[in-house]
């Protein structure tokens, strides 16, 4: 799957994040999530399986996307976060609102 490619799993849109979710990539991801929320019902899974690095801008895009989704009555979940991503989420306590799901299937279940 290409970077940023989106797929629909039973009404839930899955957005695949790039290898480095940083200052350069964050605005693109945020735009994509915003558009996905507008076009769908607001249920978005961000697949971090291919993401080896996230910085504070990347976290900003995820939190921004989560807010957009919730305002539209939906939610944003993250899946398959790697070690660095998990560590950053834990350090900032953002794992309390962005709970890492082991895989896309788990994240897309039970909305």
């Amino acid at each position: 799957m290409n970077e940023y490619e989106t797929q629909v799993h039973g009404g839930v849109t899955v957005v695949r994040a790039p290898d480095r979710l940083d200052m350069v990539a964050a605005p693109k991801l945020k735009q994509l999530v915003d558009r996905t929320v507008q076009e769908g019902d607001g249920r978005v899974v961000v697949d971090l399986g291919g993401t080896s690095f996230v910085d504070s801008s990347g976290l900003g895009a995820l939190i921004g996307g989560l807010k957009t989704a919730r305002q539209a009555g939906g939610d944003l979940r993250i899946a398959a976060a790697g070690e660095q991503v998990t560590m950053v989420l834990r350090l900032t306590n953002l794992d309390r609102i962005l709970k890492p799901h082991p895989g896309v299937e788990d994240a897309a279940r039970g909305w």
């Binding site: 945020k30 910085d55 306590n93 609102i97």
Partner: protein, 387 residues
């Protein structure tokens, strides 16, 4: 000359805030490189002001201004592309020019306009006292070098301003609090992140704050200024938890609009008893260090300010024994280590050396100096003196 177009051009130039600025190595490097690559005696990055041409970087020309009426570069900025004069003596536009007739006896000129905000604000130009020409490849290379200069010119504008804002946010000196030894430093990244630290006297002692606004450049710097101001004002009248909550409420819309958030540590220390009250909004990088070894990481369970509107940050308590130090850093420091645990272990080792607060700050900065992180680095130490 179209006066309104010229006014636009001058505004673009002034907005860069580079006119009559001190020489900068990053421009000197391009000029020296061009001199070598094109094998010409004279190269300049010239800024074309209203009635003068100002060399921002030059080699072989002298650093004085040139009246616009005689400058080749004045013609270049009024054109669309590269201006090439193979032999000025036989070019009727320039043959009678005093710079051709007299010293430095210019024969060859090649100037590439430098654009900023869509306007030709200056040139990168090559000059020689012998006639010559540029090959198509050399002409392309001059364009490439000019683009490099353009990047540097426009980067400086935002970066210089953001740096200035950030610099002004930082305390110029530590307050004198009997019983405490304080030091702090913030080393900004090239692109300027949103780090800042602050301290102020409040009821019950000294308040110290370390914060990191997500993002870079001017946006981050302005948000940092807002957080600092609101928190400072609130802290004079409220307890720590309330001050932070008010700050979060006040800044919520601004942070939402910029898709940003702030990790923040704030502590209030009673210098007499060593009692420390603190709140931590997703910062997680505060530790109490003992001079005899041992470190206690301060609990961080709260989310960053601006991440979730329902969040609150109840204050927690710690106590600094005489000789113990509170060390708070930004995540730029963490980048220098594999894990947070490793960073804490290193801090513990440093603390055992019995350093003063300023020495400990420098020692931590020293440990991060090898990293190639694009992040700001902030280090603050508050040490309770031995009785």
């Amino acid at each position: 000359m179209d006066t309104s177009a010229e006014a636009e051009r001058l505004r673009a130039l002034r907005d860069l805030a580079v006119l009559d600025a001190p020489p900068e190595d990053r421009f000197d490097r391009v000029v020296r490189l061009a001199q070598h690559v094109f094998d010409v005696p004279m190269v300049a990055v010239n800024l074309v002001d209203e009635d003068r041409v100002v060399p921002h970087a030059q080699v072989g020309l002298g650093s004085g201004d040139i009246p616009r009426s005689v400058a080749f570069c004045s013609t270049t900025v009024q054109g669309e592309g590269q201006l090439l004069v193979a032999d000025a003596q036989v070019d009727q536009r320039f043959a009678s020019n005093p710079l051709v007739q007299q010293d430095p006896h210019i024969r060859f000129y090649a100037g590439q306009p430098l654009r900023a905000a869509g306007q030709n604000v200056g040139t990168l130009c090559l000059l020689d006292s012998r006639p010559r020409d540029l090959t198509a490849e050399q002409s392309r290379m001059l364009r490439d070098l000019a683009q490099w200069v353009e990047n540097e010119l426009t980067l400086s504008q935002e970066t210089v301003q953001a740096r200035e804002v950030q610099r002004r946010l930082l305390p110029s000196r530590a307050p004198d609090v009997p019983g405490l030894d304080l030091a702090g430093r913030c080393v900004p990244a090239r692109d300027v992140g949103g780090d800042f630290f602050d301290w102020q006297r409040v009821e019950g002692g000294l308040q110290v704050v370390v914060a990191d606004v997500m993002g870079k450049g001017m946006t981050a710097a302005i948000l940092a200024a807002g957080v600092r101001a609101v928190l400072r004002a609130g802290s004079l009248f409220h307890d720590l938890a309330t001050s932070l909550e008010r700050t979060a409420t006040s800044m919520a819309d601004d942070l939402d609009g910029a898709a940003s958030f702030v990790t923040l540590f704030a502590g209030r220390l009673d210098p007499g008893s060593g009692d420390l009250e603190y709140v931590d909004a997703g910062h997680g990088l505060a530790v109490v260090l003992s001079p005899t070894g041992g470190a206690r990481r301060l609990v961080s369970v709260g989310m960053p300010v601006g991440a979730d509107p329902g969040e609150s940050w109840p204050a927690r308590t710690e106590r600094l024994a005489p000789g113990e130090a509170l060390l708070v850093v930004s995540d730029g420091v963490l980048d220098a280590f594999e894990t947070a645990e490793e960073a804490v272990a290193e801090a513990e080792r440093l603390a055992r050396r019995g350093l003063r607060a300023d020495q400990l700050v420098e020692a931590v900065l020293e440990r991060t100096s090898h990293r190639l992180s694009p992040d700001d680095v902030t280090v603050v130490v508050v040490r309770r003196e031995q009785d």
